[in-house]
């Protein structure tokens, strides 16, 4: 029977037909029961009977593919010619699938991110599930060294769940922790790579991922997983159950997960996380359904900090200054707690040529990061420079070698936080106020997100996609007292300037109270895009246009004495908007090889993170006369020969006029103070060659070579300004106005700190027909730079803060050598991975194990130069010392670590 869409301008008619066949197992040649059979793009499905037979009646217009799917078997997709009425397929062979592949159990390495600022290694979560060889290597092997694809910040990758944008409004980065531990339900996704056209969004420069979280599309059945590791968590338990598309129109899925560790690879990194997920789907009719999900991923972790070479020499790479024993428990002063449940409801309509996805999401909750505060008391950090041997070696007024030795001994036997001492100081304080407290910086908010995406197949050649999304978020940011450590009260006074933080309230505060700062941030982001995609036999082209608009407003809740006019109340409203354009052309001379060329131009609208200079204390902001932009171009060659598959890409991206804000205490040429350093008008250029090749000389052995040879540099000398408060206190202000322009910083040519800029991996994999595999990779990571200190590269560096005049005697040669940017030493890492799976009585058991850094190589994965010494005399003196007090702080990579995963599905 023919049924045609009446009234359409394109005479497209759907044809009904019957497909019959018998599905058998490749090895045993017996029928397979319970195989799902459906037409791609159609919701209707049935399962094979006990002898593997099926009879499927469906209709489709063109591009018909019959899909046969069962857990444990490789999914089969057969093209169907709908011209006949009855199609007899005969025996259809399904082959056993290889054990749970790497990508299925990828340890979401955002959990191991060590950096204070999130977004360092969470690029990995983004790469999960992609089949691209290069990305696979980047996820598994390069991530140990904080590799970033093309040197991009993770905010260049868009993450959506069912079409709803999930990147943070505050800094643009994906919040992987919001669904940590829910890998089982987050495994169905569509990826777009780099500048590829995506059907759901304009995407970022790195591309994007849209997680399709729908119960009806999840593998039905139960899956239990147990994992053991010594990286960030020690044990993980996951249980997931999905009903699959059953007889009725209701389907559901739920997942529970628990991860914990007393401490991870780095000492004192406590770990405690649990997650819940539940979703329900109601099929309204064969073409549309309504589904909703609710999930909470609670995560509480003790963090570590980067350490200097001196501390590494004393205590090794697993040293963490943030913890100490209290009683018999590890107590880490820097814990981060994330608890931001998400609720979404979606409606999806899928017809042959038209797909509409509408979503509404609500998220609330908070992220809090705790730390130890000290008020007119000794610094509790065991690695404070005055407690280390270098402090004594650097003392010029005598030979303090014995003291240095004692300091070493003291550090080795008591180099962690002494909680007992903190309680003691609080108990003995004659002023009856706290000398030490633990407190958290909390960001508590609510967000509503809405999106609508339409995909239209105009004709066989042309696709039209369009979408709009709107997010509005209200966040309250404040510091909250967590524990008074035995004291009765805390006085809310900023200790260095001795000024009040909250003039409208009393200074005595207790546990649970807000103190130090409190402000509201309101943010709204609107995103729209429209895209045309033309697919011909050998050529494809697409063009995408997008428009983004953002709005931010800060409202201060505390009136503080340092900024009496600029701290309290509603601040100005900021509005930014910009157009973006993306286009590409691809040429496919035959089925084996494809070339494409793509380019994009998009605005990088300011986020609150690079708009507000010091939002905790005031509403000062950077002015953006010219909006930052990004321009990117890439050329790809993809090939699929019988024994060789892969991709080679060349890319080049320019970032114009971006800004960065840093906070630290410095002794500069103009004076000493806590400052906010603002770099603006930064232009940078990321370019390189990316490749991923796999060579399969036989059916069991494959060799792969993947890597990135890149260079990411700043290409101009950006403007540098310092902001600081101007109350007297103990520090004299550098300038009465609270800000000073230091001119331009000599940063041209400086490599940005974005992980190894060159990374190469060579791997050998053996896949045995008996369903097990083993794979070894050797990886070389090099050209990894730490973050440089800016002030020594400004003119103020040469001024003597005591006289205000430039230093006369400058040792130019030594200074130049000291300022040369050197990469971290290159590192070779050897990783092993293997797994096996069994299928018994319909139960599927998979084991997967991986060992990273088999040879336990010690290496540095990142770090930053300290900015304390910012005038010539102090800087050079420290540099000349054999044991500098303010040498760079480094993140040290993990030694030999393992990960073992067992999963059972039925």
């Amino acid at each position: 029977m023919l049924s045609c869409i009446l009234g359409s301008t394109w005479a497209v008619c759907a044809q009904t037909f019957t497909v019959k066949g018998t599905v058998v197992d490749e090895k045993q040649r017996t029928g397979i029961k319970g195989v799902q059979v459906y037409l791609e793009g159609n919701l209707q499905r049935l399962t094979t009977s006990s002898n593997g037979q099926f009879e499927f009646i469906g209709d489709c217009a063109s591009d018909c593919f019959l899909v046969l799917e069962k857990m444990g078997y490789t999914r089969l997709r057969l093209p169907i010619d709908p011209s006949g009425e009855i199609i007899e397929l005969g025996l259809i062979i399904l082959s056993r699938k290889y054990p749970v592949e790497k990508r299925d159990v990828l340890l979401n390495l955002s959990e191991s991110d060590l950096n204070e600022e999130d977004g360092v290694s969470d690029v990995v979560g983004f790469l999960q599930g992609s089949r691209d060889i290069f990305l696979n290597r980047a996820a598994f092997d390069f991530s140990q060294s904080f590799f970033r694809v093309r040197g991009y910040d993770s905010s260049e990758g868009q993450v959506q769940i069912n079409g709803l944008p999930m990147n943070s409004i505050i800094d643009g980065r994906p919040q992987w922790n919001n669904w940590g531990g829910l890998n089982d339900v987050m495994r169905y996704a569509t990826h777009s790579l780099n500048l590829e056209a995506s059907r759901t969004s304009f995407e970022g420069l790195m591309g994007g991922v849209n997680y399709r979280v729908r119960p009806s599309q999840m593998r039905p059945g139960t899956r239990l997983t147990t994992s053991f590791s010594n990286r960030s968590y020690a044990t993980r338990l996951m249980a997931t159950h999905a009903s699959g598309k059953g007889e009725g129109n209701l389907s559901f899925a739920c997942s529970l997960s628990r991860r914990w560790a007393k401490e991870g690879y780095i000492r004192g990194t406590t770990y405690n996380a649990y997650s819940f997920f539940g979703s329900l789907e109601l099929e309204l009719n064969p073409y549309s359904s309504l589904f909703a999900l609710a999930m909470l991923a609670y995560n509480r972790r003790g963090r570590s900090s980067p350490i200097t070479q001196e501390v590494f020499n004393l205590a090794g790479r697993t040293y963490n200054p943030n913890w100490g024993k209290q009683g018999d428990r590890i107590r880490n002063a820097r814990e981060r707690v994330i608890s931001e449940p998400v609720f979404t409801i979606n409606y999806q309509l899928t017809k042959e040529r038209f797909r509409l996805r509408i979503g509404l999401g609500y998220q609330f909750g908070n992220i809090s990061s705790s730390r130890l505060g000290y008020f007119q008391a000794p610094n509790p950090d065991p690695t404070y420079y005055r407690y280390l041997p270098s402090f004594y070696f650097n003392n010029r007024f005598g030979d303090y070698a014995i003291n240095a030795q004692k300091a070493s001994e003291g550090f080795l036997s008591g180099g962690q936080l002494g909680w007992e001492k903190l309680y003691r100081a609080n108990t003995n304080n004659p002023a009856a106020k706290a000398s030490y407290i633990t407190y958290s910086d909390v960001a508590e908010g609510r967000q509503i997100t809405g999106s609508a995406i339409a995909n239209l197949k105009l004709n066989q050649l042309i696709n039209l996609d369009a979408g709009i999304s709107y997010r509005t978020r209200n966040t309250e940011n404040f510091a909250r007292i967590d524990d008074l450590l035995g004291a009765a009260v805390h006085l809310d006074i900023e200790p260095f300037s001795d000024t009040q933080n909250d003039i409208n309230a009393q200074t005595e505060k207790g546990v649970g109270d807000r103190f130090s700062y409190a402000y509201l941030l309101e943010a709204r982001v609107l995103n729209t895009f429209i895209q045309l995609h033309l697919q011909q036999k050998k050529w494809t082209t697409f063009i995408t246009a997008g428009w983004e608009s953002t709005e931010y407003q800060r409202e201060g809740l505390f009136l503080n004495a340092r900024y009496p006019d600029e701290s309290f109340g509603q601040g100005p409203r900021f509005n930014y908007a910009g157009f973006g354009l993306k286009a590409g052309v691809g040429y496919r001379p035959n089925a084996r090889i494809q070339f494409n060329l793509r380019a994009a131009l998009k605005p990088r609208l300011p986020t609150p993170k690079n708009l507000y200079i010091n939002p905790r204390d005031n509403q000062k902001s950077l002015s953006y006369d010219i909006l930052p932009t990004a321009r990117s171009i890439e050329m790809n060659t993809l090939f699929r020969f019988p024994v060789l598959t892969g991709r080679i890409s060349a890319y080049s991206t320019w970032f114009r006029n971006t800004s960065e804000i840093g906070f630290y205490f410095t002794d500069s040429g103009l004076g000493s103070d806590f400052v906010q350093e603002v770099l603006s008008g930064i232009d940078s250029w990321n370019r390189g060659l990316e490749f991923g090749l796999e060579f399969k000389p036989s059916s069991t052995v494959s060799l792969s070579l993947a890597g990135n040879i890149g260079s990411y540099q700043i290409v101009n000398n950006p403007r540098t300004e310092l902001y600081f408060d101007v109350t007297e206190g103990e520090q004299n202000p550098i300038h009465a106005s609270g800000e000073i322009d230091l001119g331009s910083a000599n940063l041209k040519g400086i490599y940005t700190a974005r992980g190894p800029q060159q990374a190469v991996s060579f791997g050998v994999t053996y896949r045995d027909p008996d369903y097990w595999f083993v794979s070894a990779t050797i990886n070389k990571l090099s050209r990894n730079f730490i973050d440089i200190s800016v002030l020594p590269r400004t003119a103020s560096f040469y001024l003597n803060p005591e006289t205000g005049e430039p230093y006369v005697e400058i040792d130019r040669d030594f200074l130049e050598k000291s300022l040369i940017q050197k990469p971290l030493p290159e590192v070779y890492l050897f990783n092993l991975v293997g797994g096996k799976s069994w299928l018994l009585n319909g139960w599927y058991l998979g084991i997967f194990a991986s060992v990273n850094n088999l040879f336990d190589t010690a290496f540095r994965s990142g770090g930053f130069e300290q900015s304390r010494n910012a005038h010539y005399a102090q800087f050079i003196k420290d540099k000349r010392s054999a044991t500098p007090a303010f040498s760079p702080k480094y993140w040290y990579g993990y030694g030999r670590t393992y990960f073992l995963n067992l999963s059972l599905s039925f």
């Binding site: 428990r329 300091a407 003291g410 309680y423």
Partner: protein, 453 residues
């Protein structure tokens, strides 16, 4: 299938609950008493051999903290002494930690593990700490912060009030350095008026003087909270740690309130002097008129003596404590002359016909009823001449003059701080212990204003 699922999820849920201990941390002990002292501070000092040495023996000592860095006058040092009220030895502990008052508050007992520490002496002050070399000379330096817990323990005892040792500026030689002292009646010289305690960021020495020309230096840190406070102008009391600078002494205060000047300044004029030539010559309690009591002093010397700073003290009955004092500062006693101090000047003049040099008033040394003890004290606190025995009521003893008089024998030229009855003729109404039972009547039986020597 459903059942299996249910079991699994319950198991997971249980695991969830069990593993989350949340924020319950046990409150730690903030003090410790685990070491037992086996050597005393003064013993330790006696073993010192003139050169900075490291202590190898497993010695533990104890001390009381007597300084505080709360107001910033100390940095990196804590002073301890071996006893809260009767100190015999003091030490300076050098540790590289600010705000030590939070960890070792003043008044608390601490235990010190000496093995691994160095003992030394700096300009006369004993020190304990670590060591550093300066041109081949080893000196005690500050102990690194992360070693402090290994060597010093705060005990759990309640804070004790440290009793300051009263010292006098004219008798400093025998004093021990490093102990908590108090001096009274001191002031800053006039040329320091209007100056702050210390110049900014510079250690400043401020001279303190007593009324007799003796001085001591008050050493203040330029980083102290009270550095910019102006020196007070009155006179009064200073409490602090006594330290040596070679032969001289310094005082280091912990708080601004350690200097309490609420009295008048010393009178200006010539410096006070002491002399053994002034004696108590006659003490009168007329039987017929108890308003006509008086005391007479006689100068056996060849020169007139100003009595600036001199005092005549009375210890009533058997009182060990001072009952009353007559300040003789206004008077000057002529060579071979007398000074008469009457209980009631008006009555005295009526009775004896001339004005006494001073009126002592009721219950003063001049108003004794015959069973009290008197002390003539010099400006420096020395008892020059004593009548009676303090703590013994005169009645029925060899120092009773009730209803009579006590007269100094002629030929006594020197004051005697220890009462010798043979120097006196005593007339009373009892007649015991070698005294004469012979009441005296005014004015006939008395001779104020003249003394036969």
């Amino acid at each position: 299938m459903r059942v299996q699922w249910l079991i699994i999820s319950t198991l997971l849920a249980c695991v969830c609950m069990a593993c989350n201990r949340g924020n319950n941390y046990e409150k730690p002990m903030v003090c410790l008493d685990s070491w037992s002292p086996n050597i005393a501070l003064n013993e330790l000092q006696s073993l010192y051999q003139d050169e900075t040495t490291s202590i190898e023996e497993e010695w533990i000592t104890e001390g009381w903290v007597i300084s505080s860095d709360q107001e910033g006058n100390f940095f990196g040092s804590i002073y301890i002494q071996d006893h809260p009220s009767i100190p015999s030895a003091g030490f300076e502990l050098l540790i590289d930690l600010p705000d030590t008052h939070l960890f070792f508050p003043p008044g608390r007992r601490v235990l010190i593990r000496l093995k691994g520490l160095y003992i030394g002496k700096s300009r006369g002050n004993f020190q304990l700490g670590s060591v550093y070399s300066f041109f081949d000379q080893q000196n005690v330096g500050r102990l690194p912060a992360n070693k402090v817990e290994e060597h010093i323990q705060l005990t759990c005892e309640e804070p004790t009030s440290i009793v300051p040792r009263a010292i006098r500026l004219n008798k400093l030689e025998g004093e021990k350095a490093g102990i908590y002292i108090e001096i009274d009646s001191v002031q800053f010289p006039e040329e320091l008026w209007g100056h702050p305690f210390a110049e900014p960021e510079e250690e400043t020495s401020r001279q303190l003087e007593d009324c007799y020309g003796n001085t001591i230096e008050l050493l203040n840190s330029g980083y102290a909270d009270f550095a910019t406070s102006i020196l007070p102008e009155g006179s009064g009391r200073v409490r602090g740690i006594l330290t040596r600078v070679g032969d001289a002494f310094n005082i280091l205060i912990s708080k601004r309130s350690d200097v309490q000047f609420s009295s008048e300044r010393c009178p200006s004029g010539p410096d006070p002097v002491s002399s053994t030539s002034v004696i108590i010559s006659e003490i009168a309690d007329p039987d017929n008129n108890n308003e006509a009591r008086f005391v007479e002093l006689y100068n056996t010397g060849e020169e007139e003596l100003p009595l600036l700073g001199w005092k005549l003290e009375r210890y009533t009955n058997d009182n060990l404590n001072l009952s009353s004092v007559i300040d003789l500062s206004e008077l000057s006693i002529k060579a071979k002359g007398t000074i008469v101090i009457a209980s009631n000047a008006v009555v005295f003049e009526e009775v004896f016909g001339f004005t006494p040099q001073l009126e002592g008033g009721k219950n003063s040394a001049a108003d004794s009823n015959g069973d009290d003890n008197l002390v003539l004290r010099d400006p420096f606190g020395l008892a020059l001449d004593v009548f009676g025995r303090i703590g013994e009521d005169g009645s029925n003893t060899d120092h009773e003059f009730e209803d009579g008089k006590a007269e100094r024998q002629s030929g006594i030229t020197q004051g005697n701080p220890i009462y010798d009855p043979s120097e006196w003729m005593l007339y009373n109404d009892t007649g015991l212990s070698g005294t004469l039972n012979q009441p005296m009547f005014a004015p006939v039986d008395f001779s104020p204003g003249g003394h036969i020597n």
